[in-house]
């Protein structure tokens, strides 16, 4: 499919060789995250389970974005539902519809597995990600995240 700017966008399942580019696309502490992403690739890419979904977006055959999610069941008493817990689009390729394409695709995968709700959790100060999920149709859900300092 072609983006609003005429670029060729395709979405595919991630493969182990995508790890370095995914780490480069991730925001935040790269060093600490190497082990994190290794674990995610082991669980979400190498095991090949249908209920764990890791997609990447390509523009002209180069990876420019990723989205990761899965089906979780009965946590906090909730029936099975989809979770999106990581996503990013390369700054140079933002606002071209790639985030939306990846979200539509992960929802299609989740629907195929049979879940009807998708959830996520966002830092309330992060206007960009919040606006993005709002744009994808998210509203406040029925669960509230609570936390407490224990030090």
């Amino acid at each position: 499919m072609t983006s609003e700017t005429g670029k060729q966008i395709s979405i595919r399942n991630a493969v182990p060789g995508d790890m370095d580019i995914v780490i480069a696309l991730d925001v935040g502490q790269k060093e600490e995250k190497q082990a994190y992403w290794q674990g995610i690739f082991d669980h979400y890419v190498k095991r090949g389970r249908k209920d764990r979904i890791f997609l990447v977006a390509e523009v002209d055959a180069a990876v420019v974005g990723f989205i990761v999610g899965e089906v979780r069941a009965w946590e906090f008493g909730s029936p099975p539902c989809g979770w999106v817990f990581a996503l990013s689009v390369s700054p140079r390729f933002r606002e071209m519809g790639i985030g939306k394409r990846m979200f539509d695709e992960i929802c299609a995968c989740l629907k195929k597995i049979g879940v009807a709700t998708v959830r996520t959790m966002v830092d309330r100060e992060d206007r960009l990600i919040l606006s993005y999920f709002r744009g994808m149709g998210f509203r406040s859900g029925r669960y509230i995240e609570l936390e407490k300092q224990i030090v």
């Binding site: 606006s131 709002r134 744009g135």
Partner: protein, 136 residues
């Protein structure tokens, strides 16, 4: 959360005009559609023009047209032109403000304000209009 009349009228007018940026509508037409006071809306429209969200179109059939950015303007951007969304605790003058219970009440009010802001400041006009269209 209780929005004042001006904010509500502004949200209605801005969303109505933004739903079709090519179209111009008079204050009377907007007021009639939403069943609100033309007089009060007229004042709100002047503030919206002043802040660049709408443009006054002169001449016969004149009115207002949306002139902002639907993808960047949030509901809070509109509301804040008319009111401050921070909770006001009605603390009487002269009352000791360093009491732990008052501090706790203030902290709860801040928690509510932060959540309100996280909602209103991340719904763009475009997103609100998209959801509204799905209701028809």
């Amino acid at each position: 959360m209780k929005l004042n009349k001006a904010s509500m009228f502004a949200l209605m007018a801005v969303l109505e005009l933004a739903s079709d940026p090519e179209r111009q509508l008079s204050t009377g037409e907007i007021a009639a559609k939403y069943g609100i006071s033309t007089h009060h809306l007229a004042k709100v429209m002047r503030d919206l023009v002043h802040n660049g969200l709408v443009q006054a179109v002169r001449g016969v059939g004149g009115g207002y047209r949306f002139s902002g950015n639907t993808q960047r303007t949030t509901l809070l951007d509109v509301i804040q032109l008319f009111e401050n969304m921070e909770s006001k605790l009605d603390i009487p003058q002269g009352m000791a403000t360093d009491l732990p219970i008052l501090a706790e009440l203030k902290s709860i009010a801040t928690e509510i304000d932060d959540l309100t802001k996280a909602v209103l400041d991340t719904i763009t006009l475009e997103t609100a209009l998209k959801s509204a269209r799905q209701r028809t």
